[in-house]
């Protein structure tokens, strides 16, 4: 795919702080890396040398193995949080509101940098431990 087809989001120009400026650089680097991964995938598939149905079965199997530890960790940590809430009903609203606020912050951060997305695709992402 020619470079001209790549759609980069507009640079943010409204009085960027140092943080915003470095986020922008990081975002551009991460987009470039992610687009390259995408194009390699598309090229591999578009060459027509692979059987899509067979490759899909294999890919799904691989993906299930890859996501399984995330599901287990989510079940464990989520159950822990849920149990804490049930033992401390007074904390419930506060904890859930805080959980949502942290999620929004991380989601926003991901939109500014795509760092996790890239780490996931490059297999270097690690979930945090308690």
């Amino acid at each position: 795919m020619p470079m001209s087809e790549l759609q980069f989001p507009p640079i943010q120009t409204a009085a960027p702080s140092d943080d915003t400026a470095s986020d922008n650089t990081l975002l551009r680097e991460n987009i470039a890396a992610l687009v390259q991964i995408k194009n390699e995938n598309i090229a591999r598939i578009a060459q027509g040398q692979i059987n899509i149905t067979a490759a899909l079965v294999e890919q799904k199997w691989h993906n299930r193995h890859q996501i399984y530890p995330y599901r287990v960790k989510d079940e464990i940590y989520g159950a822990v949080l849920s149990e804490i809430i049930s033992h401390h009903p007074r904390l419930k609203t506060e904890v859930l509101a805080r959980l949502e606020a942290v999620y929004q912050k991380l989601r926003d951060e991901e939109a500014q940098t795509l760092s996790r997305t890239r780490a996931l695709l490059e297999n270097s992402y690690k979930t945090p431990h308690l």
């Binding site: 943010q12 399984y68 079940e75 989520g78 996931l120 308690l130």
Partner: protein
């Protein structure tokens, strides 16, 4: 690429809690729009818009979105639990015991988690809900 909310919206999030993050993003693009623009750029399936669908590329996109959601969700839960310890609302030793307890409990159900990956019969998560 990421769902708009983690906690069911029936729980109103106080304005004070989100003020900080809103202030941070006020100068930049709306993160919602931003993620949509980025999604079109980096995911594979939009490339094929208007052409025959490619199930393999769709599977790649879906898998990336699933993992990203888990990553952010687990990070959020870990952050909140660490904050509860810092604020001394829960005790660190109790938390470790509770984690060991839940690990053991969930490990007895690992087969069910695997089977549900194959069938997708029940919605995730299987063993807890923040919604009751």
């Amino acid at each position: 690429m990421l769902p708009n909310n983690l906690v069911p919206v029936t729980f109103p999030v106080s304005q004070a809690d989100i003020a900080g993050s809103e202030e941070h993003s006020a100068l930049t693009l709306n993160p919602q729009d931003n993620l949509l623009v980025l999604e079109k750029t980096i995911l594979s399936a939009p490339h094929y818009a208007g052409q025959a669908k490619n199930t393999l590329l769709e599977e790649n996109d879906r898998h990336l979105k699933d993992r990203l959601f888990y990553a952010v969700k687990i990070e959020a839960i870990v952050t909140v639990l660490n904050e509860l310890i810092e604020q001394e609302k829960i005790n660190s030793a109790d938390l470790q015991m509770l984690i060991e307890d839940k690990k053991l409990q969930i490990s007895h159900h690992s087969q069910q988690i695997w089977v549900n990956q194959l069938t997708q019969e029940k919605s995730w998560p299987l063993f807890y809900s923040l919604d009751e």
